[in-house]
């Protein structure tokens, strides 16, 4: 249904260079699949090799965000002093859109892999951090009291009560984080990349091959959806105890 509307609208607008039809996009997808990849990855085809390159960047950026976000989140969520100290800094940095960091990223990290990973880290970090903090802060008081009466010391309470209690929230944060991190991909690859899906999209924007541009965007959407599915599955497996 959606495809029909798209096809109709594209034909009406009649600017194939800017507004491709779904048919053109599917054709472009096919072309990109078989076109040779860059040197060293010729076999994978242009579409898949760029996808893998981007995926790798997002995985690294996300992993860094997960480690830093959860670690800091536990500290800020558990100890009032840490929160009072760090909260202002975080609240100032958080609203700045990743796009605005591009010039700085290129200045600090140069071109290619590193600034892209930095931007993805930026995008994923804050939701992970905030959801972890929330999860820790919302540890039910009763459970902490119970643990105390059972003889648990403060570190035991943190790791045996606080963290498991926060786990659902942390998983939500991770899921949101990777979504945002993947969305930052195009912005991230504007920081002087010459490979990856984001770069590919901008490349075909320049050569006015809109159908390939949209095909690239479609691929970003598909991979993003698959990642979401994957994490959801992981979440369901880990948090099975929640279902009543």
């Amino acid at each position: 249904m959606f495809l029909l509307i798209w096809e109709g609208a594209a034909l009406l607008a009649d600017i194939p260079q800017l507004f491709p039809t779904p048919v053109a996009v599917i054709v472009a997808l096919g072309q990109l699949l078989v076109a040779p990849g860059p040197p060293g990855m010729v076999w994978a085809g242009e579409l898949m090799s760029n996808t893998l390159i981007s995926l790798w960047r997002v995985v690294v950026g996300f992993a860094l965000a997960a480690v830093t976000g959860v670690f800091l989140g536990i500290i800020i969520g558990w100890w009032r002093n840490a929160r009072d100290l760090l909260e202002p800094v975080i609240e100032i940095l958080r609203p700045i859109p990743p796009l605005a960091w591009i010039p700085l990223a290129m200045l600090w990290f140069g071109l290619g892999f590193k600034p892209a990973v930095f931007l993805i880290w930026l995008g994923a970090f804050f939701p992970i951090l905030l959801n972890t903090v929330l999860g820790m802060e919302n540890t039910p008081h009763k459970l902490i009291e119970v643990a105390r009466t059972l003889g648990a010391g403060p570190w035991q309470i943190l790791f045996k009560v606080g963290v498991p209690s926060a786990a659902p929230s942390i998983m939500v944060g991770l899921r949101i984080g990777i979504g945002i991190g993947w969305m930052c991909l195009v912005a991230a690859e504007l920081t002087g990349s010459n490979s990856g899906l984001g770069y590919m999209i901008m490349y075909y924007y320049s050569t006015m091959e809109a159908s390939k541009t949209v095909a690239g965007m479609l691929m970003i959407g598909i991979v993003g959806y698959l990642m979401f599915l994957g994490l959801k599955k992981l979440e369901d497996n880990m948090l099975f105890w929640k279902t009543a």
């Binding site: 059972l150 035991q156 105890w241």
Partner: protein, 254 residues
């Protein structure tokens, strides 16, 4: 003369409101001595401070004045020798039954083999054998409370503190749990301090019933329950004691 297991000596507790600085006196000069293996119930109107008293004995709050001694030692902080059971179970939802019951020995670093033995023993004791792998979300209210009791018992506490533990159960389950609790108590002979709204429950379960005044709470009257176990709710002695205590709560204590 009974041995003094738990001594509560002229304890008072005042709460200061965070905003506005108003203060509420919850407990006023509360004194009580509980002996080894005794089952004592605290009854009283809402707001009389019974839960606060329990928390003080547990060590989760500090008394504003007065002292609490367990086996002659001053109580200052929570500890495994004073087990606590809440009305809303407070089980760890991410641990199964075995995991919940094993929590105490686990944090006290009891070696694995011993820990497994204790856990299994306590699960059997509360009548949940074979359900060790189930999760709290799969359990009924009664079963959850059994787990909570088993969990508290796993640390072999000197005294068991129970805050209206059967309050959120239906009548049938409640009666069942009362019988179960008596069975467990008679089995391990630990002192129990049991807070409840229900006079009937207090008479059914305890050796002594302590009636508290309205807040600021203190001891109004103490009744000894000399009926033999198991008790019958329709027994003449049961009923007359129940009426006496109810009357005492209302106004006059005879």
């Amino acid at each position: 003369m009974s041995s003094q297991k738990l001594v509560i000596d002229s304890v008072s507790k005042t709460f200061l409101e965070k905003k506005g600085g108003k203060s509420t006196v919850a407990l006023r000069d509360f004194s009580l001595k509980i002996g080894e293996g005794e089952f004592v119930c605290l009854v009283g109107p809402s707001g009389c401070g019974k839960t606060t008293l329990l928390k003080l004995v547990a060590g989760l709050e500090h008394a504003s004045s007065g002292y609490i001694y367990l086996d002659g030692k001053l109580v200052t902080a929570p500890g495994p020798e004073r087990g606590l059971v809440f009305q809303d179970f407070a089980l760890f939802p991410w641990r199964d039954v075995t995991g919940n019951v094993a929590f105490g020995p686990e944090v006290l670093k009891v070696p694995l083999a011993e820990r497994l033995r204790i856990t299994e023993h306590c699960i059997d004791l509360v009548g949940l054998s074979g359900s060790g792998h189930k999760y709290p979300s799969e359990l009924s209210g009664g079963m959850k409370q059994r787990v909570a009791i088993a969990r508290a018992l796993a640390n072999n506490p000197e005294v068991l503190l129970m805050d209206e533990p059967f309050g959120s159960l239906d009548a049938q389950t409640r009666n069942l749990m009362q019988k179960e609790l008596l069975r467990i108590w008679q089995d391990n002979q630990k002192a129990v301090v049991f807070v409840t709204h229900s006079v009937e429950e207090a008479v059914y379960l305890s050796n002594r019933v302590v009636v508290m005044t309205e807040g600021p709470g203190t001891v109004k009257q103490i009744y000894a329950v000399e009926l033999s176990y198991p008790r019958s709710r329709t027994d003449h002695g049961f009923i007359s004691l129940r009426e006496k205590i109810t009357g005492c709560m209302a106004e006059e204590c005879r």
